[in-house]
Structures are given as structure tokens and as C-alpha cells.
Amino acid sequence: MTRKKRRLYILLLCAIGLGSATALTLTAFQDNLVFFRSPSDIAREAPPPGRAFRLGGLVEAGSVERGGATIRFRVTDGASTIPVTFTGVLPDLFREGQGVVAQGVMRPDGSFAAREVLARHDETYMPPEVADALKRSGHWNPAQGAPPPAASWNTLTPERRSGS
């Protein structure tokens, strides 16, 4: 075996060892690597009372109530829903149907008291005219969640409305 071959094999062995060690570590810390928990996760396994955590999901359509400085809405992942109250400044992207990540604690009554609310947008990008065309044609209601499959709109060129 030449020196180069030997060095190559040593390198490959190290790569396999390091790769499996990393994979095992990441699997072991799976629960700590998630940034937020979904309403279903909370329904399955409620965190201890008073313990702060992050709750993530979509703002349910029709659930936002603004009363003075406090805002109430519900966060859903389709299967479960958790009511949230928050006092403070919401990010610009906050709306019904938008993803949010809220940090706070569960109250005894089963609602979530958020200290901070962040917006989590999806991975689609489209010009306003395209979004309007999809909404007009009834293919998409942003309050209900994600847009339709990208192949149906990513080359769409609706008439640009002038004067807007």
C-alpha cells in the first residue's frame, strides 16, 4: 500500500467515525434542537406549569381579537389549537394564516401567555399581482395558510395594474 492510499483510508475511517458520532449526538439531542413546539406536541405532553417554552404554528383564521393593548388569537397546527394572549408590539408580518413562534408560559386555564411573538413566514416568494390574482381566482386564501403548489403560479404573469 502506498503512503497516499494509506492516508486516504485513514481519512475515510476518520470521516466515518466522526460522521456517526455526530449523527448519534444529534439524534440524542433531537428534543433540544427544535426551536418551538407545536400545539399537538403540547397536547401530547404538557410542559410543567410555569416553565417557559416556545409555541409555534399558524394563526387560526378568524381568531384574532384586539382589545386595547392586549391581543388574543389562537395558534393551530391543524390537529390541535391553543389560545394565546399577548401584550406588546407584533411583527409586521403578523396576520391570520401566518406562521408565528411565541415564547411564554401556559396558564392554569390552558391558554398561553406570550412574552414575545415572532413571525415565521413560509418559503414562497411572489409579486403582489400574482398573489392578488390567486386570491381573486379563489385558489388561495392567505388566512387559511400556505399558498397552492408553486408550479401553479411561479410563471404566472397577470396584467400589471397601473396607477397603484
Binding site: L11, Q30, P91, L93, L118, N154
Partner: protein, 264 residues
């Protein structure tokens, strides 16, 4: 990029600059070969970047919900791609350095890491500037952001480590080992948004035929990515050429000094 067929000559085992018979390892040949590439790369980078910037900043439409802020993407995404693609390049150079003891791979890796660190820093900075108005925060410790920060530290660590030894060959070897250990971070950066839930959204360009991005935004993004990649390549090439010439100059000065000693 791979070295030539010479694997048996004893001289190839000795890491002597200029003494190796590897095709690209010969610094003189490398300098001659790349002399004409550099202006071509630089001019192409300026033209394509100008085109991409004009298209992205002036003609591309805003996003329906993010508005004009989405234009940060035309810098942020190419920087993210270059941070990861550049690191893959560093890993290939490190393999060449460790297995074939390729001296030019050492020099290129040494010049690549500060540029890679700068690109990763730009990715983090533009991402932070984008996150504040859209998400409502400059920074969160989610898996994507944290793994990119680790990538930045790996770049910085490599840049510092290869310069930390009096013997540049030893520094290059240590840097190559660090770079290869850091490769485990690349799939973590890429798949963090799929493996764990994160505040950062998943990739938009997962399938070629159905990118989750309207073509009016996608095409200027791709032009910007090509432009930044050309600029990145031009910077790395210019820095490597300068390093080769510097090394030659040092060798000549040493030879002159030795001659003077003998004569004196």
C-alpha cells in the same frame, strides 16, 4: 484541479514547493496559466453583478407580504451559497493537502478562509438585517442560524490556525484537519430547516422544476448568485497568485542571502 498522474516518483512525496511534478503544483505553471484568467474573471464579475444588481434592485417586483425588504435576498442567499460552497471547496483542498501533500492546495486554502469568513459574516449580517423587520428579531438560537454561526467560526478558526505555526507546512496540515472535521457542519446547515423546526423557513429552491419562488424574483437572484460567485473566484485567485509570488520572492531573497554569505 486534481493533480496529475505522478504518484510513484519519490519527489512527489516530499512537500517541496516547485519540486513536485504535479501539473498544477508547479507555481510557475500556475502563475502563467492563471495570468489571463484573472482579468476575465474580474470583468465578468463586474458585468454580471451590475446586471444582477440593476435587475434585482430596480426591476424585480417586491414580495406580496415582505414588500421591498425581500431585496435583501439578492445578497443574503448568494452569500449563504458561497459560504457553504466555498467550505466544500476548502474541504476538497484539505483532502488534496493531506493525501497528496499538494503545496498549491495549502496556499489556496490559506487564502480562501479569510474570504470565506467574510462571505459568511455578510450572510449573517444581511440575515440579521432581514430578520429584524420580518420576524421581529435580530437573532434567535434556532438550528439554522446557530449552525451558520458555527460555520463562520470554522472559517475564522481555519484562517487563524494555518497562520499560527512558524512552520507553514505544519499550519497547513492542522488547518486541513480542522477544515475536514468541520465538514460535518455542512449537512447540518443545509438540512437544519428540515430535520428540526426552526424560525428560518425551509429552502425555496428544492426542486428545479417547481421553485417556491416566482420567476420574476428567481431569475435576478440566480444572476446575482453567478455574479457573486465570479467575484469570489476572482478574489481567491488574486490572493492565491499574490501568495505564490510572495513565496517565490522570499525564496529568491533567501537564496541571495545564502550566496552573499558564501561569498563573504
Amino acid at each position: 484541479m486534481l493533480p496529475g498522474v505522478d504518484a510513484t516518483s519519490p519527489s512527489a512525496r516530499l512537500p517541496r514547493p516547485g519540486g513536485s511534478l504535479h501539473r498544477f503544483a508547479n507555481p510557475g505553471r500556475f502563475l502563467r496559466l492563471t495570468e489571463s484568467w484573472l482579468p476575465v474573471l474580474a470583468v465578468a464579475a463586474v458585468l454580471v453583478l451590475g446586471w444582477g444588481a440593476a435587475w434585482g434592485l430596480a426591476y424585480a417586483p417586491p414580495d406580496w407580504q415582505q414588500g421591498e425588504t425581500v431585496r435583501i435576498m439578492f445578497v443574503h442567499v448568494p452569500m449563504a451559497w458561497l459560504a457553504m460552497g466555498g467550505y466544500a471547496g476548502l474541504a476538497i483542498l484539505s483532502v488534496m493537502s493531506l493525501i497528496w501533500r499538494h503545496p498549491l492546495a495549502d496556499l489556496t486554502a490559506r487564502e480562501l478562509s479569510p474570504i470565506g469568513a467574510a462571505v459568511t459574516a455578510l450572510c449573517l449580517i444581511t440575515g440579521s438585517l432581514w430578520g429584524r423587520p420580518m420576524w421581529g428579531t435580530w437573532w434567535v438560537w434556532d438550528a439554522r442560524l446557530t449552525s451558520v454561526l458555527v460555520l463562520f467560526f470554522l472559517w475564522l478558526g481555519h484562517a487563524a490556525l494555518v497562520r499560527a505555526f512558524d512552520d507553514p507546512e505544519r499550519g497547513a496540515r492542522m488547518g486541513a484537519i480542522l477544515a475536514l472535521i468541520g465538514v460535518v457542519n455542512l449537512p447540518i446547515v443545509k438540512f437544519s430547516v428540515d430535520w428540526w423546526n426552526t424560525l428560518h423557513q425551509p429552502a425555496s429552491l428544492t426542486r428545479i422544476n417547481a421553485p417556491g419562488m416566482h420567476v420574476d424574483i428567481l431569475y435576478p437572484l440566480l444572476v446575482c448568485a453567478v455574479g457573486f460567485s465570479l467575484a469570489f473566484a476572482a478574489l481567491v485567485l488574486a490572493a492565491t497568485r499574490a501568495a505564490v509570488m510572495e513565496r517565490r520572492l522570499r525564496a529568491l531573497q533567501m537564496a541571495a542571502a545564502r550566496r552573499a554569505e558564501v561569498v563573504g
